[in-house]
Every structure is written in structure tokens, then in C-alpha cells.
Assembly symmetry: C2
Homo-oligomer: 301 residues x 2
């Protein structure tokens, strides 16, 4: 079937039209409000008509009603049901999916996790996101909080975290935290990229910051092995782009502290910035498969 994935991001929106797994078209447009998005999608599609679409939500989402709780970057979505509104405008059935969940679904099913049915996806970005994809679906947990590996407490250095807690993995490896940790050790601060560049150039403080980060990620991987024990961990996100300073030393720390644990295989994410759009298209297809046959398909039989 033909499925449209819409990755409705904070600054850019990615549009991806798939026929089965074959890519028909893709485009990246500036993010606008919902009415404008329907126009962008119509002109992207031209004469092509997908059977269903999926749209990502950068925020909290009630997976049953499809209503957005809160989107920090797209505040006009708060309280709306974006898939329903777009569906009315486009005349095509659609489904909303949380953006991190969409990316994880895609990486697990058609990206680096293809072929494994038990994948934990970690996004090492400004914040840290995680999702366990098992049986082809994201395991959300009883209260929608499962997979929050970024908020495991991994260090006695009690830095305040964005979640309100202290000592979380995000405080030692979050993209927006690495520079702060470097400043505290007398470094120049800046982005994750700046810290990695300084470490490469031999800066001892930057190296110590990245070692703390890797130790924290190693501890989180051990906790993940002990509680969830996935077959494969897929790691993506900007901070993972320098694996020799992040993921590889984290695995070395985890191996050094492992006892009964069998560490998962670890692979880099494969879909890059298009993971969300792919995941939205997959969610569209899953929803279409779960939907009862409609009038037109009933007429065909």
C-alpha cells in the first residue's frame, strides 16, 4: 500500500511517500501551522493519493484519542488532534505518533534493527530518548513512561536534570549538558561537538567529561541488560556521531563492570534524520492494517 509519513518537526517538516518499502518521493519544507501543513502536503502529493498517512508529534500525545497534551516547540498543537484535522483536510485516514516513538519504530523495524524482534533504541541528542520495540511495536508501559533510559540515576554527581531529578544519565551525556560539565572543569563550554573536538585535540578536562559520560552510559546499559535484557541496542543522535568518544568507551565501561549480564549487541542508527518520517509511514500502515475494512474495500470483494 501507499503510505505517507509526515515528520512535523520544530523548524522543518519532512514528507515521505512510500509504496511498500519503495520510496516514491520525499521533500523537506519549513514548518508552518496545521492549515498550512495540509496545503504543503497536497502540493507535495500532486496526483498521488496515499491510502493512509502518519504524522509525528513533538510532544506528549494520548495514543488512544490522538490528542496532543503539550508540544514545547509547536505550541499550537496543544489540545488538538492533528491527525484528525489533517485527515479532514486531505480526505485520507491518518494517525498521530509521538516523534521519538516513530523514529524508534523505524530504526527497529527497517533500520539498524531490521531482522531482530527485540530492539532498544537510544537517541543521544540534546535530551536522551529511549524505546523498547518488541513484537514490532513500541512497549509504552502502563503509564506511557517505559524506555526512559535518559532518566536512570547513574552518577552520585547530583547535577540537576531537565526532568527535575538529579544524577540522571542525561546530566552527564545530554547534548546540552556536556558543555556545562566541561565549563565546570575549567573548559570553554559550548556544544557536544565542541567538547569532542577539544577531547580530540588533547584537552584533559574535555576527556574527563566524556569519560564521565561514557561511564554513565555504560551504567545505563548494565541497568537495561539487568531489567529488560534486549537482544540489540541501536544508538543514534548527534552525540553518538563520535562513537569512539561515546558509545565505544561506554561499552568498555559496561563490559568491565558486567557480572551475570549478557550485554546486547550495539549498532549505530541507520536512518538518520529520516527515521521519524519512516516511522510515521509505518504507523500509518499499521493503523490501516488494524482498521476494519471500509465501504470501498467491502464493495470490491
Amino acid at each position: 500500500m501507499r503510505a505517507l509519513g509526515i515528520d512535523y518537526g520544530g523548524t522543518h517538516t519532512k514528507l515521505l511517500l512510500l509504496e511498500g518499502e519503495r520510496e516514491v518521493a520525499r521533500d523537506t519544507v519549513d514548518t508552518v501551522r496545521l492549515e498550512g501543513l495540509a496545503d504543503q502536503v497536497s502540493s507535495f502529493l500532486g496526483d498521488a493519493r496515499p491510502a493512509a498517512f502518519g504524522v509525528t508529534v513533538a510532544g506528549t500525545l494520548d495514543p488512544v484519542s490522538g490528542v496532543v497534551g503539550r508540544s514545547a516547540n509547536l505550541p499550537w498543537l496543544d489540545g488538538t488532534a492533528p491527525a484528525r484535522l489533517l485527515s479532514q483536510a486531505l480526505g485520507v485516514p491518518g494517525v498521530a505518533v509521538q516523534d521519538g516513538e516513530a523514529a524508534a519504530l523505524a530504526e527497529a523495524r527497517i533500520g539498524a534493527g531490521r531482522g531482530s524482534d527485540d530492539v532498544f533504541v537510544i537517541a543521544l541528542g540534546t535530551g536522551i530518548a529511549g524505546a523498547h520495540v518488541s513484537g514490532g511495536a513500541v512497549r509504552r508501559g502502563a503509564h506511557g513512561a517505559a524506555g526512559e533510559i535518559g532518566h536512570l540515576r547513574v552518577t552520585a554527581a547530583d547535577h540537576a536534570c531537565s526532568c527535575g531529578g538529579r544524577g540522571c544519565l542525561e546530566t552527564v551525556i545530554g547534548g546540552s549538558q556536556l558543555g556545562a560539565r566541561w565549563s565546570e572543569r575549567g573548559g570553554a563550554g559550548g556544544t557536544a561537538r565542541d567538547v569532542v573536538a577539544a577531547a580530540r585535540a588533547g584537552d584533559e578536562a574535555a576527556r574527563a567529561v566524556l569519560d564521565d559520560a561514557a561511564r554513565g552510559l555504560g551504567r545505563a546499559l548494565l541497568a537495561l541488560s539487568a531489567l529488560v535484557d534486549p537482544a540489540l541496542v541501536v544508538v543514534g543522535g548527534g552525540v553518538a556521531r563520535a562513537p569512539e568518544w561515546t558509545v565505544e568507551p561506554a561499552l568498555a565501561h559496561a563490559r568491565a563492570e558486567a557480572t551475570f549480564h549478557t550485554l546486547p549487541d550495539v549498532a549505530p542508527a541507520a536512518l538518520g534524520v529520516w527515521a521519524g518520517a519512516h516511522g510515521a509511514a509505518l504507523a500509518a500502515r499499521d493503523a490501516a492494517a488494524a482498521r476494519p475494512a471500509d465501504a470501498s474495500s467491502a464493495a470490491r470483494t
Copy 2:
């Protein structure tokens, strides 16, 4: 169907015969080697003939082959397939199940977790065991290690753990560790019961030991909420028998440190020392349901 549960423990063996959920008979006998166990079972059954049995293994078990890896308490089981051997002796099909898994399965399905489909069971005993029961089955993980909540690192006090690691939950709340922690603080040492009795009597060192234990369990519950997010946690085991000194303060610590987390409901285990035998009977029933119809049942249709 009539199912027999055999909980083959280190010193005592529990035999439980069920017709559906109704108890037909139960008995507790001294643990003997496997040949003797077959005789004990035969005389327990008399004329009653179960459709299937389950037998617990106190040790590591390959769930596919049914072969025991290592049993510390019943060393004659190492390398054997106890369900196959018993099955030959009794003329009844049977299945082996790891003892902690059996108890967790029973607590989740017919004990304190009845009615919930997403239960994490924690046994606070000499060691700490855990298992996530979802969809009616224990989630074993890719390498059979899932659920090992006792070996989450929850404290910077780096006591050595039975697993070879340091700072695990078991080092602050394991039944065999509480006395050691109390001794280190100048207490008299002894069993978990001794530490609790001293705390009740006002001993400050014992209270500090139990507060460390509760803080560790609280941290583990937060990690469990963040990664697995179960609906319900069922807590059993000897150490949980004094909930006002263990589980209740642990929940208070967890609530004080929770941020985005929605803590699970927490309930005490309901089946007591018979949980393993009930779980073995459940495993027997599950295996019978999964087994292709045999000749006799095919003849009946």
C-alpha cells in the same frame, strides 16, 4: 484439566494437585533425589492421575531443552533434564520451570496480580529475584536475564555483591546482607528478622541500615518505572514481612525522588510459600495447551 505442581526445594518439596483452580490435594515432603521424588509423587497421587505436571528447578535452566545448568542446593540436578526423567517414571507429560519464575508466574496470574496483565514480581529473600509477567508469561529477555532488579546498582556504598558486582540492591536489602550492614555500623549482626527487631526496639544503627535498604529499593523502583513502567509491583519474600520497615519507606523514598515517573501500584504477595507449586502447575497447564493434540485426544474427536 488436572495439573500437578511440584516445588522441588532445597530442603522440602511441595506437591499440589489442582483441578482447574480448585485444590484437590497438597503435601510437603522432605527433599530427596530424583528417583525418590518419583516415588513420593506416586504415593501422593494414589489413584489420581494428572494430565500434566510442572516441576521447579532451584538453579539455572535452559527453557528450551529443559536441562539444568547448575543448582547450588540440589547438585544432583546439574546437567539433567528433571521433567523428562520424572515424566518417564510417572507416565505423565511434564515441564521444568525455574523456581523464581514459577513463583512470579503464580503471583502475577492467580495471586496478588490477578486481574492485571502487567505485573513485576519482586522476592525480597536471602537474594533478590524479580520477573516481569506480561501477557500471562514471564518476559525472560534475549539472554534470560531480564528482571534482575536485585542487581541494579543503587548505592555508592560499594559493598561486594553475590553476583560479583558492587553496590547492587541486594547488598543493602538482601536477607543475608542486612545483618552484615548492621555489624558494620556497630550492631550485633544476625538475620533480617534480628535487624528489624532491633529497629523496632529503637536501635539507631539498625534503623539506619533499614533506611539505606529502603532508599535502595526506592531507587530500584524508580529505575523500574523509568525502563519498564509496570502497572503493578507485587512484593514477597521474608524481608517484606515487615513492610513498615521495608516496602513502605521504600515507596516514600521513591515518591520523594519521582519526577516524570508514575509509580506502580504495590501489593504484598498473596500465595506465600505455595507460590512455586502453583506456578509449576500453571506451567504444566500452559505447556499442555501449547502441545499438539496427542493420539488419545485425537481419537476422542
